[in-house]
């Protein structure tokens, strides 16, 4: 290690942005378009969906036929590098905590593969404590963020419909695609048991919105990322356009180590390791904008200790890492006998559901405090690894083309069975709001470092009765909908108190938020209402970390809106020379 030295970049940027996902991509986009000089650090390699997407590959193009690996937990064609585990980058748990931590390492982060579900938070979602006494209110309300939602709807594109719902606000929507056959079945049965079903709201371009991006061509593969930029990814829609301004220096394979500060306690830049040459670097800027992901941002702050910030940067409140929470999740699925032996046609549609169910009940009448929405799946999908796995549990149960057969089997008769059942499956998933709690947190593990020598995170997270009762309610609702559909439930119906009603481990839904929350009181929150550190005025967080609570909505659209709002604030403050 004799030749190890710290290389300092001479250029002083207006902003050093860490992370190129939704939050960091938006920050780079806004700052660069305002003429500011930006250095964007990304821990993974370059990725441009135009050239790097696995879109339109066939199942046999993958030797494992699309099965998952540790490199791509969502399958071999998926558009996200890494996931639940990364070689040489461990994390640990405290007690019986079972946090699952997804980490993307690539330009654009997780947005290359996300579900594109783009839901605005509603007015109630910012003021939950005032409603049910739990958690905290945000320091801002819907009216503060609405103009930014409006702007990103138009800038990035989202389809949906204006339904006039109180807590699922209207927006500027492109037309949604028509429901698929199983979605019409779902709509009929769900509506019959009192669950509303409305067009989904996904950031996919059913109409062209600008010359840089193409229109959706209905291959159902948004998860692989889109070669024509027909859906929203931070890589395609924010970072690559930002690079074109000439104002952004992108450094890929740059793993941030800590935020640097001066004697006055202000941020001066970021130190990072370049994963290609394994050398140490420092880059300086007038402001530092963190968007490394909810938990990585907390890790960076906690690892940035100095005389002025002995407890980690922006952490005089001792709150950094706390209030970590993910969406709740529980699922169920089955098969619809009425759809056996279906006529074949191309029903790929967009990459995801065409309809969904927003939260429809009043928690005052329920035994848990927050709601959930329901996502739906089913129909003809591209056959991939695991295609009709376990047919021996299915083909003895139903008459196939009029004939009762024994379970299992082989031969031409078995081939007939596979054809008969294709396209009859249906599934649903509840995604709900957990309560952000102080004792659900991540912290620095005192004795473990990753392969770069950076201290790692240790998690302490669990669920309470609130979330478990919500999962139970999800399962009851799913059973009602599937029963009304005359579907046979095949999975997700063996739950009970023994497994928290099928509630997924926290982190598993990959909507984690809350570790560096906003608030007006510097003693209770690291960030102010501009996502600006109370303790360090030129430091900002623009990923999921500033969230006070995360609603029963997927958080990306709100990350984007908040990041745009904060980035505009940074531009103003720099102009006024306040920072």
């Amino acid at each position: 290690m004799g030749d190890l030295q710290i290389k300092k970049q001479p250029k002083n940027y207006d902003a050093v942005v860490v992370g190129s996902g939704a939050g960091g991509g938006m920050a780079a986009y806004v700052l660069a378009h305002a003429g500011l000089k930006v250095c964007l650090l990304e821990a993974g390699p370059m990725f441009d969906p135009k050239t790097d997407s696995n879109q339109l590959k066939n199942p046999w193009d993958s030797p494992r036929r699309g099965a998952s690996t540790k490199f791509r937990p969502f399958g071999d064609f998926d558009g996200c590098y890494w996931g639940w585990e990364i070689d040489g980058e461990p994390y640990t748990q405290k007690g019986d905590s079972k946090w699952e931590w997804w980490r993307a390492r690539m330009l654009g982060g997780r947005t290359n593969h996300w579900g594109r579900i783009s839901l605005r938070f509603g007015p109630k979602d910012f003021k939950r404590k005032s409603i049910d006494g739990l958690g905290d209110d945000w320091p801002i309300g819907y009216e503060d963020i609405k103009p930014y939602y409006d702007e990103i709807d138009k800038l990035l594109g989202v389809f949906g419909t204006n339904e006039g719902l109180e807590n699922d606000p209207d927006g500027f929507f492109l037309p949604p695609p028509k429901p698929r056959l199983h979605e019409l079945f779902i709509k009929r049965s769900a509506t019959s048991v009192g669950v509303p079903v409305i067009p989904a709201r996904l950031s996919i371009l059913t109409k062209q919105i600008n010359k840089e991006r193409g229109q959706c061509f209905y291959c159902a593969q948004c998860g692989r990322s889109c070669k024509v930029y027909g859906d929203f990814s931070s890589s395609s829609c924010l970072v690559i356009p930002a690079l074109k301004t000439g104002n952004v220096d992108l450094v890929t394979n740059a793993m941030a180590r800590e935020v640097l500060t001066n004697k006055e306690g202000l941020a001066t830049g970021v130190s990072y390791i370049n994963k290609e040459d394994m050398q140490e670097y420092q880059v300086t800027g007038k402001t530092v904008v963190l968007a490394a992901s909810t938990c990585e941002t907390a890790r960076l702050l906690l690892n940035s200790k100095s005389q002025r910030h002995p407890n980690g940067l922006a952490n005089s409140s001792n709150v950094v890492g706390k209030y970590l929470h993910d969406s709740t999740g529980a699922d169920m699925g089955g098969i619809i006998p009425e759809l056996f032996n279906r006529k074949r046609y191309n029903e790929d549609g967009v990459g995801g559901m065409h309809v969904y169910s927003p939260w429809w009940l009043d928690n005052k009448k329920l035994d848990f405090p927050r709601g959930y929405h329901i996502e739906y799946g089913g129909g003809f999908g591209m056959p991939l690894y695991g295609f009709n796995w376990g047919i021996e549990n299915l083909n003895g149960k139903y008459k196939i083309n009029g004939k009762q057969k024994d379970a299992g089997g082989y031969g031409a008769s078995l081939k007939e069975d596979y054809r008969y059942f294709f396209g009859a499956h249906v599934g649903m998933a509840g995604r709900g709001e957990a309560i952000a709690r102080e004792d659900s947190y991540c912290e620095i593990d005192p004795s473990v470092v990753d392969k770069y020598g950076i201290p790692v995170l240790r998690f302490h997270t669990n669920y309470t009765d609130y979330e478990i009762k919500q999962a139970k309610h999800m399962k009851e609702t799913f059973t009602e909908i599937l029963t009304a559909m005359k579907a046979e439930i095949m999975w997700g119906n063996d739950d009970g108190p023994h497994n928290n009603w099928g509630l997924h481990n926290p982190g598993n839904i990959i909507h984690e938020a809350g570790t560096v929350r906003m608030g007006n009181d510097p003693k209770k929150s690291p960030l102010n209402k501009w996502c600006q550190a109370h303790d360090c005025k030129n430091l900002f967080c623009v990923d999921g970390s500033p969230f006070v609570s995360q609603a029963d909505k997927n958080i990306t659209w709100t990350i984007l809106a908040l990041s745009m709002r904060t980035s505009n604030h940074i531009v103003d403050e720099l102009k006024k020379q306040n920072i």
Binding site: L56, P59, S62, D348
Partner: protein
């Protein structure tokens, strides 16, 4: 819908025309050339990060099953998915090659398959004094019939049933994800198109209709 028309529509969309034309290698033209391509399935066919490339290079260099085991896998595969009047067999679809790869990629399948093949050979040795692959077709089918029907199988055959169920599932995965199998099961997709809703005759068959609201609000072509 006419594919050339759909591509043209996309071109009007303006972006990355060459990418799309190159990418939408249409599924019904995927015959000999794509099957050859499948046979040679190289990791480089799809996007890979550096760590994945290294891992797959290592897998490709390994050999797990012996030639004798591969012979048994091939016979079993073609019993499970034979040629019929719709499509070819498991071996036509190169399913044995897929199984050789997948056990290297998913080591949890190695012992159940290797042990299961040994169980099968021992059954055959006891009954017919030959390993499975050297038995006559009738003899092979006698043993297969003892393990292919989970609800009817005798208690002493349960290990064989578990093995055969795993083989059935792996062979089906390999077959229905091959060009022959995708066509057989009738998956029509993975190509640029315009989703205009459920076809009218299908809506009628299930007594369904789009609402006026849907017809008004949704994208139509």
């Amino acid at each position: 819908m006419d594919r050339r028309k759909s591509i043209k529509t996309l071109l009007v969309g303006g972006v990355s025309a060459s990418v799309i034309v190159e990418a939408c290698n249409p599924s019904d033209n995927k015959t000999a050339t794509t099957e050859q391509k499948a046979a040679e399935a190289k990791p480089s066919d799809i996007n890979r990060m550096a760590e994945e490339k290294e891992y797959e290079k290592k897998l490709m260099a390994e050999k797990f099953f012996t030639d004798a085991e591969m012979a048994s896998i091939t016979i079993l595969g073609d019993i499970i998915i034979p040629k019929d009047d719709v499509s070819g067999s498991a071996s036509d679809a190169k399913v044995p090659d897929f199984i050789e790869f997948i056990v290297k990629d998913m080591p949890e399948h190695q012992t159940p398959l290797r042990g299961g093949l040994r169980w099968l050979d021992l059954q055959c040795l006891t009954r017919f004094e030959k390993p499975f692959k050297d038995c006559s077709h009738e003899q092979q089918m006698q043993v297969v019939d003892d393990i292919a029907w989970p609800k009817k199988a005798k208690q002493e055959m349960v290990q064989g049933v578990a093995f055969f169920s795993l083989m059935r599932n792996l062979v089906a995965t390999g077959f229905y994800t091959s060009p022959i199998g995708v066509k057989d099961v009738g998956y029509i997709g993975n190509a640029p198109n315009q989703w205009n809703g459920v076809p009218a005759d299908v809506l009628k068959q299930y007594n369904l209709a789009y609402t006026e609201k849907e017809l008004k609000e949704c994208v139509s072509f």
